[in-house]
Each structure stands twice: as C-alpha cells, then as structure tokens.
C-alpha cells in the first residue's frame, strides 16, 4: 500500500525552462554520466571514508514519468571501501523516488562498468523501468 497523496499533481506546477536551455534527454544523460565518472574518480578514495553523493537533471522527456533523474554513489555499509552506483527517478509528487542498483564494487569496478560501450543505453533502459514503476504508485 502506498501512502502518498498524489492527487495534487498538476503539470502546471512543473517549472519550464526556456527552450534554448533545454537539452535533449540523451545529452543530459551523457553529461550526468560524465560528471559522475569524474566525481567517482576524485571522491572515492583507495582506502577510508567518503561521503555519499549524487548528480541529477530535471526530466523534460514526456515519455518518462519522473520529475528528475539522478545517479548516486552510496558507501557500501557492509564492505569498507566499496560503493553502490544507484539510479533514481523522482516521482512527480516529489514525495517518493524509485531506484535500482546499477553496479557495486570498488571504485575501479564501478568505473570499469561505466566505461562499457552500452552503459548509457543500459541506464536509459533502467530509467524506463523506474518510470513504469512510478506510474503505478
């Protein structure tokens, strides 16, 4: 049972950006992946504590039922030095998000996974899954 009131969702509340500032979804996604790779390289140390972090973008694609998409890195609380790469989609109500883990492991494991040719396509497929899941809330 979902306990969020979504009756008040109304498209007029979704902020619109000027058209010239709008990027195509795939460009936004590419930029976020690139930023995330950069931050993973810089912020996950070989040994020791690091803060969880995320990068995101506002979704403009009407085929995707989400207000924003984010890629986040969470410290693995069970294995020191490891992390989980999490993809999240924010429900239009902004009260709940749906997320799935893309990969877990060391910094190098994660970067290796992100550098695969089909990574962006994989992320896109996962976003659609999350979008479908959010529709059912």
């Amino acid at each position: 049972m979902i306990k969020y009131d979504i009756k008040k969702i109304n498209n007029k509340h979704i902020r619109m950006m000027p058209k010239k500032m709008e990027k195509k979804f795939s460009e936004e996604l590419k930029a976020v992946i690139s930023k995330m790779k950069d931050r993973i390289s810089r912020e996950i140390p070989d040994v020791g504590y690091f803060r969880n972090f995320a990068v995101d973008f506002e979704n403009k694609d009407k085929n995707i039922f989400a207000r924003a998409i984010s890629l986040g890195v969470e410290r693995d609380e069970n294995i020191e030095g490891n992390a989980l790469l999490i993809l999240s989609a924010l429900h239009p109500s902004m009260n709940v998000d749906a997320s799935s883990m893309l990969v877990c492991g060391s910094r190098d494991d994660i970067l290796r996974f992100m550098n695969k040719d089909n990574f962006q396509q994989k992320v896109r497929e996962e976003i659609y899954k999350l979008s479908e899941s959010l529709k059912k809330i």
Binding site: E74, L90, N95, S99, C104
Partner: protein, 437 residues
Amino acid sequence: MGYQFLIKKFMQKPELGLNVNFSRLTSGSKDMEIAFASKDAALKKADLGTTAYQIGEDLKAGFSDARLQVDNIFGNLSSVKEITNRPKGALSIYTKLERGIKEKKISSYETAVEYIGDGIGSRVITKSLPQLSSSEIKSLIENFKLNGESLTKEQKILLGKYIYNHPMSTEEADRAFPIFEKFVQPLIEKRSKEVVDDLAVSIAASRIKKGELSIEQIKAQKLLAEDLIKRLEENKFEPLEVLKINNYRGGHGLPEFSSRQIQALRKICGNGVIVNSRPELAGYSKFPNYNYSKSEAKDFAIKSSGYRTGQMNVIHSNGMRGEIQFRGAQTNYFGEYEHIAYDLRQGKNTLGPLFDDYKREISKLSDNKYARYNKYLEECYNYYNRIELGLPALKPKLPKGFNKVLSEENMKKLYEANEKRLADLKTGFAPHFVEVA
C-alpha cells in the same frame, strides 16, 4: 442443478451481491437473470464484481502453496512472533479495482491482476526487543560513534533529550533525528537480522535457480556475507523472487530495515529490484540540483501518516503475485486501524456503521488540518516502534482542535468493536450462492 441466490448479511456494500462468476453458472438461474438484467450501470457493476470474484477465486487456488513458501522461509526464526497470510477477498479486490478503473489503470483481466499486486498478502511479525535500562542507554550513548567519531558533549545532550522524549523545538528535533537514527541502527538490525538474512539467502537461491547468478559470482562480488554463502551452499532454502522493496516510514520515523540491510538486499537482488523510498530521508542529497520553490513544496506536501513497514512485492514459486510485509507486533496492531483515515481520504470505503462519526469528522478536515492529524498518527507509530526497540516511549496526545472521536484510543476501540461485530455477523455465515438439487 440450480443455484439459490443469497445475500451475505455481513456485506457492507449490497451491490456486491452481484459478485458471480458467469462461466460457472452455465446451468442458469432465474434469480441471476433478475440480478443482471436491465440497467447498464448495474451491468457494469456486475462486470466489475465478476472480475473481482474471479481474481479472488484464482488467489484462493494459489494461496496454500504461497503460504507454505513464506512459512518455510521465516516460520522457524526465533525473532519471528507470528506469520499471518490471506488471499485478498472479493470485497477488497472490488474496492481496489474501482479505484484502478477511476485512475484508468485497468483495461483487462491481466492489468487488473497486476494492479491488485498484493493478491496474496503475508505478514511476518517480529518480536520486540527487551526494554533498555537507563544505565544501558547511558553506556550506549557513551560508546556510540557517528561516522567513526565519538559524539561531542552537545551532541550527547541533544541525543539524550531526543531518546527521553524531552520537549524540543522542531529545529532541534530535525538536528537530533539523524543522530538518533544512526544510534538506533544496531537495535533495528538486531530485531530484523534473522529475517533479512533468510530473505537474502532466499533471493540468492531464486537467482541461482533462474541462472542469473552462481555461488562463485556471489563469492567473487561479495554479494553475501560468508556465513550466508555457507548456508546457501547447504541448499536448504526456499527460493523467492523479489520485484520491489518499500521501506516506508514517516519523517521522524525509523524504518523496519536499516540502510545497511537495504543495501545488502539490493546487492543480492541486482538491478532486477526497485526500491521505493523518500528522497529526503536518504541521508544525502539524491537530487542536489533539482530545487523546487516553497509554494511547490507546499502543494506537494507529504500527507504521509508515518505509515511504517518493510514491504516487498514478490512472485511466489507457484507464479502468484504477492506482498510480504515485515513489522513489529505493536506497530502492526496500530496499523490495523491507522489506515482507516487514509483509506477514507482515498475514497476506499469498506467501513461499517460503527465508523460513521469517525468518517464524518475525517471528511470535515481541511487539507492543512488533515496534515496535522497525520503528524499525530505518525507520532503514534513512533511511540509503538520505540516500544518494539526497547526505547523510552511517551504516548502522544491528540492535538487541541480535533474531535475526540479522532483519537488513537477511540480508533482502537472502534476497530475492536467492529471486529467483534463482523465476527458475530459471520456466525452462521451462508455463501452468496448455494447449489440446490
């Protein structure tokens, strides 16, 4: 052979007397023809009733295998108090389908089954922890480390105030809660460790069975702790496929499973599972660049009642869709009647006449006042959850300006009286249709 048409006397929606499976009434019945004749509106209701009935029958057929599976996984754990299971009844299915149709989410029998989701519901109720003494709490605070460091003197005072329910400003409470949440993490995990461990092994067994994972991969990627891998190798586990995990809680509420436990489950589930959670409770900014204005935030204000449960959508080994909820005994009992207000606001109405005064009061609440009422219900959840964790608990009072009928104490009384009333009405129960020679 014919059929005799009877109305269940305890039914609270008379039109549900139309819940009939056409295909099983081929021998015909005059009474049935009367029931379904004439008006279109009545016919639509009959169609919906038929669908609800049919889904209910299918669920009943798959119920015993699903129940056995849940019992096999969790039934022998020492931390589990009891397990309850039920196939969703036709009345409940009907009400949910009614809502789904209004939301245009149902277009066929298959989408109806998917929309129902929790067709076979199971609850795994865990035992409470023993009450902590003040000296134990003092020692826990002294030894507690936040991100690897001991607390400062001010942090210790703040945490102590929060633990002992001392009055504090909203700002202070907002600062204290993240520390409190980390502080109680070992208690949360102590209560649910056995359940999460067995769940993780069952999920692993399911993925191995489907050929998605091997024990070697689990070892190499450290997807399970070593002791769990050993147990998995013994091959005594019932496989369970998990589709979605919800770890619901209120703003200052504690989850059933800790973030560490959710991570462990995520890892063994792989990317096949979706976790729903509240973004502001992640402990870090999940959507750092997506800001919204105060007026938007107000428009989308959380209406949550503090509803807390660990909840999973699963596919049982017989292919039936189900939902397993994990709760403590105290919050589970409160949850039995807490959801009444939410259901009423969502247009779900399966309540008996005893609730008329309550319904009237709920319907009178403005959105703002309803939000305040939900805050009160959230505090009740937190109160009961604290008892389950062995922490000091102070029962919240209904805020001024609300009719006493809305108090938690009254909700409990109404719920218990209604349960008794239904049990009495069911005595001498007769089904809708009985075969007659």
